[in-house]
Amino acid sequence: MSKDENEDEMVGYRQQPGKLPFAKPGSGGKDRFSRPTDQEMIPESQGGELAQPWGSHRHDNLVSGQVIGKATALVDGRWKVTGQAQYGDDIRLPGELIGRIIRSPHHYARVLSVDFSKALEVPGVVAIATGADAENKFGVLPVTKDEHAMAVEKVRHVGDLVACVAAEDEATAREAERLIEVEYEILDSIHDMRDGLQDSDLPIHDRGKYHIGEANVQKRVFQEFGDVDGIEENAIASHKENWLFAGVNHAATEPHAVVANWDPAGRLTLYTPQQVPHYVHRALADVLEIPMHQINVHRTFVGGGFGGKSDPFPHEMCSAILARKSGRPVRITFDREEVYWINRGRHPSRIEMNLHADSQGRICGIETDALIDGGGFASFGHVTTYYNGVLHTAPYEIGAFHYTGARVWTNKPASGAMRGHGAVNSRCAVETGLDDLAEKLSVDPIDLRLANLLPPHSATITGFRVTSIGMRECLERVKKESGWDEKFRKMPLGKGIGIGCGFFISGSGLPIHWDPNKFPHATVHLKIDMDGGVTVHTGAAEIGQGSDTVVAQSVAEVLGLPLDLIRIRSKESDTSPVDLGSYSSRVTFMNANAAISAAMQIRDELLDATAEITGAKREKLVIGDRRIFAKNDPAVGVSYLEALHKAQEDRGALVASGAYRTPPMGRTHKGAAAGLAPAYSFSAYVAEVSVDVETGQTKVEKVWAAHDCGKALNPLAVKGQIIGSCHMGMGQVLSEEMKYGRSGHLMNPDLLDYKIPSVHEMPEVVPIIVESNDPEGPFGAKEAGEGPLLPILPAVCNAVYDAVGVRTAELPITPERLLRIIERKCKAEGVDDPIKLPSPRLEYSELQAVLSKRAEEHAKRDLERRLNDNRQPYHNGALFGLDPTTPPDEVDQKWAVNVIPSEEYLSDPRLAGSAWKHTERRHRGDS
């Protein structure tokens, strides 16, 4: 009979242990024997020992036991620790000039004239440019391009760009800066975001026929889902709070810097520490009026991004313009102060949060009104306005959602995207609100959450498709590890513990600047020549989060190679395929998926070649450490290099291209795309704090931080992201604030008065990784870079309440603020000394048992849903008795989907909602 029928009878190529059949060009080096496969890394579904409590995954058969899931040092770490990593200001080209930017000293003014004749006379000054040199607009979102390289007509905030100069050295450039005379006509500026809602004589921008009234409203959103009208009738307890969140800056340690150089062939290379090189690429083409192929964007090492380096920036345009004018490379580096002028930090926000619970302890309504202060430009603000609402429609199943949001222009440095984009402030308001609701219902706040979670593979009230959910496990883990039951509402005055949760997108489903039907979100190219090293070309921006490492790991895992055989080329647009950049936590999910699909093509070729050499059946072959062999007889096999050379016989180097595109998803109402993601991350934190009731000083003592990242491809990096997120969130909740004085001037544009936590303020953080095995994520992974920031703010706020019994609705919780609230509380309680204040205590109501029971039932439901492939659809609303298989608005008249406010609403709108009182110019008769 043929050999096919007898599994054991492998013929042909059999290698004796230890023996290398023959030397090969390209071989040599250490570890001359293939390591036996580490069965603990091989998933159970493949016959290994890696337990899979969340079921199997479509990438299980690609696991070779190399690197995925193991703590892995960053592949570019050696450059960083030796000082050889080149950041923006480290690019020094021969013949470089130093550029400086002339900035507005006024909040809002018309630029009448710029006279640079004196400056040009200074010896060593080579070129000067003004707004007239580049009048085309740009901006990160194509719908809201409102920036110029330098002021055309008006400046919109202190620090706005007016002109720029390039000189032989910095001192000369600064001298020229001083001599440039600008004549301004000062205009009435606005600083309070509430004023932005009013009609103005001269709005900060003019949107033409799309302008909303004559106001400074840049974007407004109205959304109603579910049984909004029924909220009042159903609710037995309600929470209402008016929040004020200060603006926050990314405060990356590296100030922005850029170098531009036009080569002799007339092509521009722009060296810039960018999170999103591709958008800069587009913007440069627009502003300089040259085709994109004439530009090479070179991403340098990035000294911290966090969203602060994700817009195309005017100074990047300036350096290109100056370099073009002068014929020499131009380097511009910011002073720390300038970082605050360009800002793009978290929006100062006024958020009104209303939460309602019904008699079953269900969240029967969330009503949010968010007014956010965009400063002088649009930046990512269009999206931020949506995110402030839609990103808190999960992880809870809710009965109704009402959101009004507005973003206004004011004469401040522009706000933009910052880690946890748009979700952080409103999430803080929701989670502290839930704590208050639990207090009002006399139930445990963790149980309240556990009894109201959406199950895996469900749809939110806004129609987001949620796949894997590890929320329940996150809550259970932090509850257990923190000793919650022994501490909550049981500690003495001044000691407190609090819970907070988070939910965040893992990549955005509909990318800005992109036609999703025509282009992928991420592309990865591989090239392997006879030496066996794998060159990976990817455009994903490594910003310290480890994106180079994760793509290297993915390729290494699929091909069974140690990381030292992988080299990443991710810096230049000339050689890297387009990637949409490092924002919205998209890189691991999308780029690693693209890398896997490219590596799978190479893997197929290697397997074919091995089958040909050994005569073994292809389906029987597996990839191990640098060897490809028959699963049931490892002696039948070849080295990686042998297989590679065989595959190269006819065509030379192997090349492959892999790409990732999101599946179709979501609904169709206006704004339905905002917040759509191929997967979502979940997190729950418990923070323990001590508060000095006599000084108002809060110290976070310990944080238990559970984050569901699907699968930790690199646990070391995931933990680093969790702890780092805690740091940044702690800064916002306790000390960080962009302080504007009475005249609207930013008072703390430096790291002395803008206080980010030092090592002494950092508590011990216990990172807890929950792996919910996302079906579409690479090896099951989801994001870990931004989501972990969200829960720390409310966890700390709630812990402060547990400690002293007061709630604050203004961040940061500085000692002065907290002390004022404590004093008020003392007065109200009639105690003369704050140390006599009572600590909050909890006595369960009957509802507690209802919630515990439901949580238990839901835990079973969730387990079933996550392991069963034949699951029914589950739409938000089922908890309220509706058919889970159909969107409620299709079966129940009461369930609304509404994106236009009614006349009735407009008769008494909330703050941000009042933006809808204006009519767009095109809909008014008068224009």
């Binding site: 230890g18 000294g303 911290g304 310290g544 640098r626 060897r627 090592v759 011990e764």
Partner: protein
């Protein structure tokens, strides 16, 4: 607007300046009021020494002057004249990284890496003086350095791990030693 960048006083002209940088004696012509950070970055080629704030708040510019950690942005070059200056580039012994460098790379002490040179320099001085510091001592040593990425925890882990290597007397592998063989033999598993 305030200008933080020094020097604000006009210089009285160039002077010749001598110092030993990472063990190499350098003679440079510098403005007599030049800031050490500028001299290191712009004249001495130590681009590993980072500029984060120019006002002593971030610690990115830390260097060792005669073994003592100093903020080079707050130091006049003239003050360091004739001294031994060590920057991040001077920590490794050829291709043998200093254990503190190796451990920052291995234990997550460096994410974006911009603060890393400052932390390395400061903690190498700590370990020089106190090869097995407690966590509190590590924290005190790095209190003047800001890191926006790591939340410091893995930085402290890295210093602790380096201290373990140093006290055990091991040395870090030469980074130029051969890498994995792509044509390995069968181990007979």
């Amino acid at each position: 607007m305030v200008q933080h960048r020094l020097p604000m006083i006009p210089s009285a002209g160039e002077v010749s300046w001598v110092a030993s940088i990472n063990g190499v004696k350098k003679q440079l012509n510098i403005e007599n009021n030049a800031i050490l950070l500028d001299v290191l970055r712009d004249k001495a080629g130590s681009l590993g020494t980072k500029r984060g704030c120019d006002m002593g708040t971030c610690g990115c510019c830390s260097v060792l002057i005669n073994g003592e950690p100093r903020l080079s942005c707050l130091t006049l070059a003239a003050e360091a004249e004739g001294y031994e200056i060590t920057t991040v580039e001077g920590l490794a012994d050829g291709h043998h990284l200093h254990p503190i460098q190796e451990m920052f790379a291995e234990c997550g002490g460096s994410q974006c890496g911009f603060c890393t040179p400052g932390f390395l320099v400061v903690s190498s001085a700590l370990l020089e003086e106190n090869p097995s510091p407690s966590d509190e001592e590590i924290k005190t040593a790095i209190e003047g350095n800001l890191c926006r990425c790591t939340g410091y925890q893995q930085i402290v882990d890295s210093v602790r791990a380096a201290s373990a290597i140093l006290t055990s007397g091991e040395s870090v592998e030469d980074s130029t030693s051969p890498k994995s063989d792509p044509h390995p033999g069968f181990s007979g598993e």
